[in-house]
Amino acid sequence: MKEKLEQLRAEVLERLEGIKDKKELDELKIKIMGKKGQLTEILRGMGSLPAEERPKVGQLVNQLRQELEERFEKAEAVMEENLKKARFALETVDVTMPGKKKRVGGLHPLNSVLESIIDIFVSMGFDVVDGPEVETDYYNFEALNVPSDHPARDTQDTFYLTEKFLLRTQTSAAQIRTMEKRKPPIRIISPGRVYRADEVDATHSPVFHQVEGLVVDKGITMCDLKGVLEQFAHEIYGPETKVRFRPSFFPFTEPSVEVDVTCGECGGKGCRVCKGAGWIEILGAGMVHPNVLSVCGIDPEIYTGFAFGIGLDRLTTTRHKISDIRLLFENDLRFLEQFSR
């Protein structure tokens, strides 16, 4: 009996060595360990043994069963491991091949820049308000301290719809509408489309976009204006950006300034982008003219305020180094896609 077991053990171990296939392994396992397997046969044959030998042989059989089970398990594990290895080798991909993407679209560059501007100002507590594009002479000029004989009107060639109605030449008209409706403290920006009768060329378009800003409260100073614009410039152009005021003239602000930022390309040293100046003009601003406050029923002796007007199209073209403003309105997909992210 014992020899029989030894013989079986040797036989199984030898066969296990040679097996390469899972199916073969399973068959062998059934043949040996299955209900009708050889080992079971042996166990069954124990009945013919003398009673005193049975426990001993039983122990031997169980020992062998345990050993063989372990052997089979191990062989299975090795085989599975090998199978996986083979599969992985087969399934290995070229990771440098391009990823598969679903094409998404994108905002127009003017509006993606506008969204960044809106985010900056909303975070500083500015409300976003919209004004009409068809304006009256009163809101576009008169109330902004530009009476009919004012020479400033010459510099803004206006599209008229009737004698009274026109296409607004500046988002500043929204200042008046806001101040008529709200009382200080006021903190708004008003983005929108404006129109001037400029012939189309690389830097001019009869339709363009501005973002007007207005703050009115007690004790607002020019230093506050600079503080707000510095924060804006840092967000848009980077934290190293410096802001400079230059005196200028707008009828609806006094004092009025042009606002320059250090050129992002050269950091202020002077380069081709800034034409050697080291500075780039980005917007006009100033303290709200007392006449404008008065017109809106706000007492200029009590309240002061500042206003600024950002040229969105110019900001967009300089930010993305777009050489010709016409590209913005042409909407060539190959142009637009460059800004889809």
Binding site: K102, V104, G105, G106, L107, H108, L110, N111, V122, S123, M124, G125, D127, V128, V129, D130, P132, E133, V134, T136, D149, H150, P151, D154, T155, F159, Y160, L161, T162, F165, R193, A197, P206, V207, G219, T221, C223, D224, G227, V228, L229, Q231, F245, R246, P247, F249, P251, E254, P255, M287, P290, L328, F329, N331, D332, L333, R334, L336, E337, S340
Partner: protein, 796 residues
């Protein structure tokens, strides 16, 4: 404002480099548009006299000149010109000289004879007859005046100057003059402003014996100053005056006209000189023109005037358009012997309107339009007379005519130092403010916190503390403004509801692969014709622009389809195979035409597609996406837009309102845009989407029990809309019908002609238990019965 640096130096010392001057002026509010160094055009060209002329030994056509250029040694130069002679003064280009035509002259040998430079023709110096008399003769330019030998030709030609073009803002008309700029320069450089003091002697007589002046319309002409000069000797003005005029872009004409132009440039006050002979009746009348009155200006053009225009007339007819241009018949002529000088103040809006109406723009009208100083009229006249005297151009008659309705007194403004600082956010000492304001000719004293400022007549723009703050600040320096964090109550910023809705629409479409476009709000009037939209359609009621840039941009759009098709066409013409676009913009809906109130500016959305992947249903899918964003379920009906394919267009209708119309563009319409592929466009009422009620999503329990699927293949009339079938499912599907999905539509082989096969998958599920087949069978039987009534039969 073009400013000659040499002219400027007459009135203020400039001891700093040009760059520093410009930088300081920019900081004070005068941007530098350009700097033109006239001397850069040539160098090393001097005046020389031909002392001796000999024949060239080896060439018949060449001559050897010995030139005296004031160095003591004679210079040998070979020339091919034939108009030279001994004793002639000529421009000599020395060795290593540069000429304005780009030539670089070096010494060399001509047929074996050394030549140390070149004699120049007027052409080589880029000169015209008007620049220098005799410049256009064939040959070497012979100088017609005596100059010290060796004089730099730039000096002779007035090219030893630098011209700075300052941009002057609309609030500073006083700086449309050399003296105005000189005053600002004196302030920024802290130098003395040396305003010229006119002085002259009269020859007696009485101006009233020569002329009488009547101002009828003081509202348009608040001041009119006149003087008479007799024994006038017309001739060229001196070289120095011509140089200044030319450097500022004016053409010298004769001594009298040049004086008026010189005074205008210098003082900012336009002047006019009349030939006294041609002032009929010895009368000057400042009056409004009569309607239809005619006048010929000195450029030879005849104008028809109206009663809004101010003229300077004589006893009979207008002889000058006030402040704009003189008349042809009273202009200064070569034989003029007596003149009447005018220096006046005309109201700026009147000059502006007349100049615009007649389409004339002159240096004079530009200055009047910006506004002139009423007090300066008198000073300019004095300055002109002192030049007449200095040049000996005539005899000044005693007596001034000065018509006005009273001259303004100096305005006194009181502001506090603290209020100025309060606006600026700084602590500028009162003394500093006083010092700055006084330098700006604003006579200011300080008492405690109070500044008392006497505003000079030329600073009309200064009205209150904000203006004083600006004057102080631009001289004190804006670099002192230091940014401070904004103060005040904590306020929350937010976007408007419309903007938030618009963001949602955009995000939804971007995720579907659409790119946003931006187009102009005005379109051609013929745009609606191109779309085939008839005149009675409300979209034809578009607001017209009175002064459009051209037909292409002449009406405010009432729809976005035209602009979208245009953009699709541009992309198609550039061989871009497929595009998906949308535009969010406004359309302009007038209440009446012409408008009497502000039009409705209605938010609108358009979608445009073409490409192999696109069809009617990809477009419809996008429309559904947008509506779904706002929880809107629409009914889809056939529509009848002329610009769409009649069988492939629909309107999405909600509560009886068309929220969207969309479809495949009619091939005829597409052809008008040179689009020869299938194009799909939708126009959506974004305003209605934005007004949709916000709905909150409520959670539905996830299914716990398995579903039963049933597929139904139906045969029905080809014309039957599937929506009709779906209505049946909806009405009779019972409470367990979870979803209905159309998965196949088929026409063709094995299907009877005029019929189609439609296949649906119905999913049934109960939330409480596992459904049994029998429970579903009953529903299916009922559905088939109802479908049969609609002419739909199960496909066998």
């Amino acid at each position: 404002m073009k400013v000659s640096l040499n002219w400027l130096r007459r009135y203020v010392d400039i001891k700093v480099p040009l760059e520093e001057l410009c930088e300081k002026m920019v900081q004070a509010g005068f941007e530098v548009e350009s700097i033109e160094d006239l001397s850069k055009t040539m160098d090393n060209v001097v005046v020389g006299r031909i002392e001796k002329l000999e024949k060239h030994p080896n060439a018949d056509r060449l001559q050897i000149c010995q030139l005296n250029i004031g160095t003591g040694e004679l210079l040998r130069i070979v020339t091919g010109a034939t108009n030279v002679f001994e004793g002639a003064l000529v421009p000599v280009a020395l060795h290593d000289s540069h000429l304005p035509n780009g030539m670089h002259i070096k010494k060399g040998k001509l047929r074996g004879v050394e030549s140390n430079g070149m004699l120049c023709s007027g052409q080589e110096l880029c000169l015209k007859e008007s620049d220098y008399k005799g410049a256009e003769v064939n040959g070497i330019m012979i100088l017609n005046e005596e100059y010290p030998l060796g004089t730099d030709m730039r000096e002779v030609l007035g090219l030893d100057d630098i011209v700075i073009d300052f941009s002057v803002t609309a609030n500073r008309p006083d700086c449309q003059s050399i003296l105005g700029i000189a005053r600002e320069v004196s302030v920024v450089l802290k130098e003395e402003f040396k305003k010229p003091v006119p002085s002259y002697k009269t020859k007696g007589g009485d101006v009233n014996d020569f002329i009488s002046v009547t101002v009828e319309d003081y509202d348009l002409c608040p001041r009119y100053v006149g003087r008479v000069v007799t024994n006038v000797k017309i001739g060229p003005s001196p070289a120095w005056m011509q140089k200044f005029l030319k450097s500022c872009g004016m053409r010298p004409i004769n001594n009298i006209v040049d004086i008026t132009n010189f005074v205008m440039l210098e003082t900012g006050q336009p002047m006019h000189a009349f030939d006294l002979r041609d002032v009929r009746g010895g009368k000057i009348i400042v009056r409004r023109a009569k309607d239809g009155e005619k006048m010929t200006t000195l450029d030879g053009k005849e104008h028809t005037l109206n009663s809004e225009m101010l003229v300077i007339a004589d006893a009979e007819q207008p002889s000058c358009l006030a402040g704009i241009m003189g008349g042809l018949d009273s202009e200064i002529k070569d034989d003029t012997t007596a003149i009447f000088f005018e220096s006046a103040k005309f109201r700026r809006d009147s000059v502006r309107r007349t100049a615009r109406t007649l389409g004339i723009r002159t240096e004079s009208s530009a200055r009047f339009e910006k506004g002139t100083d009423i007090m300066n009229a008198e000073y300019a006249m004095e300055r002109a007379l002192s030049l007449i005297y200095e040049l000996g151009a005539g005899d000044i008659v005693e007596g001034v005519i000065d018509r006005n309705m009273g001259l303004p007194k100096d305005r006194v403004l009181e502001v506090t130092v603290s209020s100025v600082n309060g606006l600026l956010g700084l602590e500028i000492p009162g003394d500093t403010m006083v010092e700055i304001l006084n330098r700006l000719s604003i006579k200011t004293t300080l008492a405690g916190d109070k500044l008392t400022c006497v505003i000079p007549s030329f600073r009309d723009d200064i009205e209150g503390r904000a203006d004083i703050a600006e004057e102080v600040m631009r001289i004190y320096g804006y670099q002192h403004i230091v940014g401070t964090p904004i103060k005040g109550e904590i306020v929350r910023g937010r976007k408007s509801h419309e903007r938030l809705c618009s963001d949602r629409i955009k995000n939804r479409l971007i995720a579907q692969g659409l790119n946003e476009i931006v187009t102009y709000s005005f379109i051609p009037e013929k745009a609606l014709d191109m779309l085939g939209i008839g005149e009675d359609d409300s979209r034809c009621r578009a607001i017209k622009i009175l002064n459009p840039l051209g037909e292409e941009y002449s009406v405010m759009r009432t729809q976005l389809v035209y602009s979208m098709l245009n953009v699709l066409a541009i992309n198609y013409s550039r061989k871009i195979p497929a595009v998906r676009f949308f535009e969010m913009s406004k359309v302009f809906i007038p209440d009446s035409l012409p408008i009497t109130s502000q039009p409705e500016e209605r938010p609108a959305l358009s979608i445009g597609l073409y490409g192999e992947q696109e069809d009617f249903f990809t477009l419809k899918g996008l429309v559904e996406e947008v509506l779904a964003e706002f929880g809107i379920e629409a009914e889809y009906r056939r529509s009848s837009e002329p610009y769409f394919h009649p069988g492939r267009q629909a309107a999405a209708v909600v509560d009886g309102i068309e929220v969207a119309v969309f479809g495949e563009v009619h091939p005829d319409t597409a052809a008008r845009f040179d689009l020869s592929c299938r194009v799909y466009v939708a126009e959506i009422r974004a305003d209605i989407l934005m007004s949709a009620k916000e709905s909150i999503v409520y959670y539905k329990p996830l299914p716990r029990f398995p579903a039963i699927d049933r597929d139904l293949a139906l045969i029905c009339d080809k014309e039957l809309p599937v929506a009709e079938i779906e209505k049946v499912f909806k009405a009779y599907g019972g409470k367990f019908l979870e979803s209905v999905q159309l998965f196949d539509v088929y026409e063709g082989a094995q299907i009877e002609k005029g019929k189609k096969s439609v296949a649906y998958r119905l999913v049934f599920r109960s939330a409480e238990s596992t459904l049994k087949d029998e429970e579903v069978d009953g529903v299916i039987t009922k559905l088939i019965e109802k479908l049969n009534e609609k002419g739909c039969y199960l496909r066998s």
